[in-house]
Amino acid sequence: MSEFEPLIVAFFCNWCTYTAADLAGTSRLSYPHNIKSIRVMCTGMVDPKYIIKAFLEGADGVLVSGCHPGDCHYINGNFKARRRIKLLKEILPQFGFEPQRLRLTWIGASDGVLFAEIMRDLVLQIKALGPSQAKLAMVI
């Protein structure tokens, strides 16, 4: 049987983490293909329903990543994102999603090396959790 390859939906803020991903690319650093990145202007615009939809459609993990506290291009979007992630981490585990499947990180624009490292780590962790329940049962 082939090894389980998780699907991770990642929301990257345009100003920090997306730029770091770009830097990782131009620096020819490699990271796993399991990460499907979605570029958003700010982590503060990631509505809980984007994350819920990703999970219900079978994502094995969801990552939201933006600027370090104090560095948000829109001053405080990342603080708002942190509260929403906190809320979802209260709600989703009640329906059987392991809390580790939803992650929030701060990766600055110049952290290309760190970006690639975190992506590799994350994929290993989600791999260890196994496939998401949404893949295994019919979801109405």
Binding site: P48, I52, R82, L87, I140
Partner: protein
């Protein structure tokens, strides 16, 4: 100085005494109108009415176990702009708590509203009420009032209170301007009237009432009721968690949902003018459905049922007051309230928040601190 007074009831006519009290309130200088539940003259149904003429309180009945809607929405409609006069709103505690949430969500103002909270005896589900009230709602209300107070909150013969009421630990409106107290008072003989704010004081000073002291039995009766309700609540939480702890079980829980969205319409704190689930965002192109079906081999139609409910939980659970109107509105008897209260309890605890407690407490998703929730950041 808070006013504590009592209304003496003559000949067991509790509703008559309340009627006279509301007439007095309407006759004060400040109050332009009274919003109060009344039996409609054309049908045996209790609905909120807006009264400006003292002679129009004939069907006053705020004690009936009828709860056709959470009137916080009505109050918000009356209070979203200056109305040109103050309105006294006679509400259940959960209606007041929902209104407080709406005020914080900028859906109403308190300037022209005097909140009068009646001790809540609980309510039946809509279908049960029609059967219970029969041909004589006023008489059935009095029977209900006596039964509940005598049995210390136990349901009446042949009917159960709505599950939301059985699990409710807020029988008294701690945040109203004026409280009308039933618990701990002599059944059928006296009612308590207490002001809890300055505007409450101001109105009660203009009404001729006999001063009294809060009877010691009152707090005991309330405490006993709350502890009984909390017990039921915790048992309900455990049952609901067990029934929903995986997507498979959640799908079974909502299997009879037809995506009518009545629960959202009935929810007093779901305040968006247009919910995203009824916009074109969810009016998918036909080919989209086919693609989804192709990917999985089978999809349930209509789609997005769990997506809708979990999103609504994420959007509203921090504001849920547990009034139970979502369950009341469900055509297929899905226990929506049970799930909402269960999730809301943990969500509100995570932010040290209690929906409807006070105007000052900021809704969790409307604010943030720079230094908080470090535990949700990072991948280790």
């Amino acid at each position: 100085m808070a006013i504590t007074a009592k209304i003496s009831v003559e000949a067991q006519d509790v509703l008559g005494s309340l009627r006279r009290f509301f007439e007095d309130i309407l006759n004060t200088d400040d109050i332009e109108a009274v919003l109060v539940p009344q039996q409609l003259p054309m049908k045996n149904m209790i609905m909120p009415t807006l009264v400006t003429r003292p002679s129009q309180f004939g069907g006053v009945d705020p004690l009936a176990p009828a709860f056709p809607m959470n009137a916080a929405r009505i109050v918000s409609r009356l209070a979203r702009k200056p109305a040109g006069g103050k309105i006294a709103a006679v509400l259940r505690p959960c209606e007041i708590r929902a209104f407080i949430e709406l005020v914080k969500l900028k859906q109403g103002r308190t300037d022209e509203i005097l909140l009068i909270g009646v001790d809540c005896l609980g309510a039946l589900q809509n279908k049960d009420y029609f059967q219970f009230a029969g041909q004589n709602p006023a008489e059935s209300t009095m029977q209900f009032y006596r039964n509940v107070l005598q049995n210390k909150g136990k349901p009446i013969e042949g009917f159960e209170l709505a599950p939301s009421c059985r699990a409710c630990e807020y029988p008294v409106a701690d945040n109203a301007d004026v409280v009308i107290g039933l618990y701990g008072m002599e059944i059928g003989k006296s009612l308590l009237v207490q002001s809890q704010t300055e505007s409450g004081d101001h109105i009660l000073r203009q009404v001729n009432l006999a001063d009294t002291k809060v009877p010691a039995a009152r707090q005991d009766a309330i405490d006993a009721l709350i502890s009984q309700r909390s017990g039921y609540r915790d048992e309900m939480f455990a049952r609901t968690r067990e029934a929903t702890d995986s997507l498979e079980k959640m799908s079974a829980y909502f299997a009879t949902c037809v995506n009518c969205y009545n629960c959202r319409v009935a929810c007093p704190v779901c305040y968006c003018k247009e919910c995203v689930f009824v916009t074109d965002v969810f009016n998918h192109d036909p080919y989209q459905y086919l693609r989804w079906a192709h990917r999985k081999g089978i999809i349930k139609m209509p789609t997005d049922t769990l997506f809708y409910h979990i999103t609504r939980l994420a959007h509203m659970s921090t504001a849920c007051v547990g009034c139970g109107q979502c369950s009341n509105a469900c055509p297929n008897d899905i226990p929506v309230m049970e799930l909402f209260r269960t999730i809301a309890y943990d969500a509100q605890k995570a932010f040290d928040y209690e929906a409807g407690r006070s105007i000052e407490q900021e809704p969790p998703l409307s604010v943030f601190r720079e230094d908080e929730f470090a535990e949700v950041v990072g991948i280790n």
